[in-house]
C-alpha cells in the first residue's frame, strides 16, 4: 500500500477501540442474519487458555493452547465453515459453566453439543464418555467393553486423543487399566489437574 506520500489524516486508521466495537457489532449482525457459522472466544482456566467454538447447533470445539489456537481456527474454517468470527455472546453460557466447573461448583455441563467433528466408533466412544460421572474414571478397556467391542482398546485411546470437545466431554476420566494416566491432548499436567479437581486421582 502506498501511504507514505499522502496526507496523514487520510492514512490514519481507526483506533483499536473503534475497530473492536465495529468487530463486535459485525458479529451481532452476522448472528442476526444467520451468517455466524462458527462463533469463537477464549477463556482463562487452570489448564491454560481455552479456545471455545460453537455452531448454531452447539459447542463444536474446545482447544488447549498446546494445540495452537490459530491452527484450530484454520481447521474449523476448513472442516465446518470459513465464516468464523469472534462472538462471545453465543459462548457465554459455556464460559460460565466452565468457570463454575473449575471453581468446583459444577459437576455436569448442561450445554448443547455439535458432534459433527466426530464420526463412527470415535463418536460412539465420545458419546459414552458423557455418561462417565464427575469424579469417576474408567479404563480404556472398560470403555471398549461398554461399547461391546472389547478388543478396541487402542481405538478408544485414539478417540480420546482426538476428542474435539475436551473437558466438557470428559476424556480425562479415561485411564489405563493399571491406573496410570495414559495420554491427554492437553498434556498430562492438565489431565492431572482435572482429575484432582474432581477428587478422582492422586
Amino acid at each position: 500500500m502506498t501511504t507514505t506520500d499522502i496526507p496523514r489524516a487520510l492514512a490514519e486508521g481507526p483506533s483499536p477501540a473503534r475497530l473492536g466495537a465495529l468487530t463486535d457489532a459485525l458479529a451481532a449482525r452476522a448472528e442476526a442474519d444467520d451468517l455466524l457459522d462458527v462463533a469463537v472466544r477464549t477463556v482463562e482456566s487452570p489448564v491454560g487458555e481455552l479456545l471455545l467454538a460453537a455452531t448454531p447447533v452447539g459447542l463444536v470445539r474446545v482447544a488447549f493452547a498446546a494445540e495452537g489456537h490459530d491452527a484450530v481456527l484454520d481447521d474449523l474454517a476448513r472442516r465446518v465453515s470459513p465464516r468464523v468470527l469472534r462472538a462471545p455472546a453465543r459462548l457465554d453460557r459455556v464460559a460460565r459453566e466452565l468457570d463454575e466447573y473449575f471453581d468446583g461448583h459444577r459437576t455436569h455441563f448442561d450445554v448443547a453439543l455439535d458432534r459433527r467433528l466426530s464420526s463412527g466408533f470415535r463418536l460412539a466412544v465420545l458419546t459414552h464418555l458423557s455418561d462417565v460421572p464427575y469424579g469417576r474414571t474408567e479404563s480404556y478397556a472398560e470403555v471398549a467393553a461398554a461399547l461391546d467391542n472389547p478388543k478396541a482398546v487402542r481405538a478408544v485411546g485414539s478417540a480420546c486423543a482426538t476428542n474435539p470437545i475436551p473437558v466438557v466431554v470428559p476424556c480425562h476420566r479415561v485411564l489405563r487399566s493399571d491406573g496410570s494416566l495414559g495420554g491427554y491432548l492437553g498434556g498430562l499436567e492438565a489431565k492431572t489437574t482435572l482429575l484432582r479437581l474432581e477428587g478422582a486421582a492422586a
Binding site: T2, L10, G13, P14, L35, D74, A77, V84
Partner: protein
C-alpha cells in the same frame, strides 16, 4: 468447502488483517460520519459471499471492491434523506470528530474539506489506489475509464490536497 492446503482463512482473521484498511477507504469515500456504517455493510456483505470465494483470491483487493459497492449504497441511502434543494452531486461530505490536538485538528479539518470537494473520480482513485492498494487497472475496472485516466485522477487529487495541506505535513 476445500480440503486442500489452499483453504480460505477464518473470517475473523480477515477482519483483523484488513479491517483498518477497509475503514480508511470507507472514510475517504463516504466521509467520517458514514465510515462506520459503510465498514459494517462491507464486512457483512463480504461475510455473506465469503465461503464461495476461490481460495486464491487477493482478499484485500476483493474487500475494497465490496467496499466500493457498499459505499455507493450507503451514499444513495443518505441522499434519500437529504432535503430537497441541496446538491447531492457526488459521494460524500467528509467530516471529522476525533482529532485530539487542536493544531492538528485544524489542518485535518482543512484536508477533509478538500477531500470532500474533490471530483468524485479523483477521490475514488485516491481511495482505492493509495489507501486500498488496488492497481490503476483494478480501479479502472471498478469505476470505469482507462487506467491512465485513473492514474491522472489520483495524481490530480493528491496534488490538490498537497497544495493546501502538504507543506508542513510532508516536509
Amino acid at each position: 468447502m476445500s480440503t486442500t492446503d489452499a483453504a480460505l482463512p477464518p473470517f475473523t482473521e480477515i477482519v483483523a488483517r484488513h479491517g483498518a484498511t477497509v475503514w480508511r477507504v470507507c472514510r475517504a469515500v463516504v466521509g467520517a460520519d458514514a465510515a462506520d456504517d459503510a465498514w459494517s455493510e462491507t464486512f457483512l456483505a463480504a461475510l455473506r459471499a465469503y465461503p464461495d470465494l476461490p481460495p486464491t483470491t487477493n482478499l484485500e483487493a476483493w474487500l475494497v471492491t465490496v467496499a466500493h459497492r457498499r459505499a455507493v449504497d450507503v451514499v444513495r441511502r443518505e441522499r434519500r434523506t437529504v432535503p430537497a434543494g441541496t446538491d447531492p452531486s457526488d459521494l460524500a461530505a467528509p467530516a471529522r470528530h476525533d482529532a485530539p490536538d487542536p493544531a492538528v485538528r485544524a489542518a485535518d479539518t482543512e484536508v477533509w474539506t478538500r477531500v470532500a470537494a474533490l471530483p468524485e473520480r479523483q477521490r475514488l482513485a485516491l481511495a482505492y489506489h493509495h489507501l486500498g492498494g488496488l492497481t490503476y487497472v483494478e480501479v479502472a475496472a471498478l469505476v470505469g475509464g482507462t487506467s491512465d485516466a485513473v492514474r491522472r485522477a489520483a495524481a490530480d487529487g493528491l496534488a490538490t490536497l498537497r497544495r493546501t495541506y502538504g507543506s508542513e505535513e510532508i516536509a
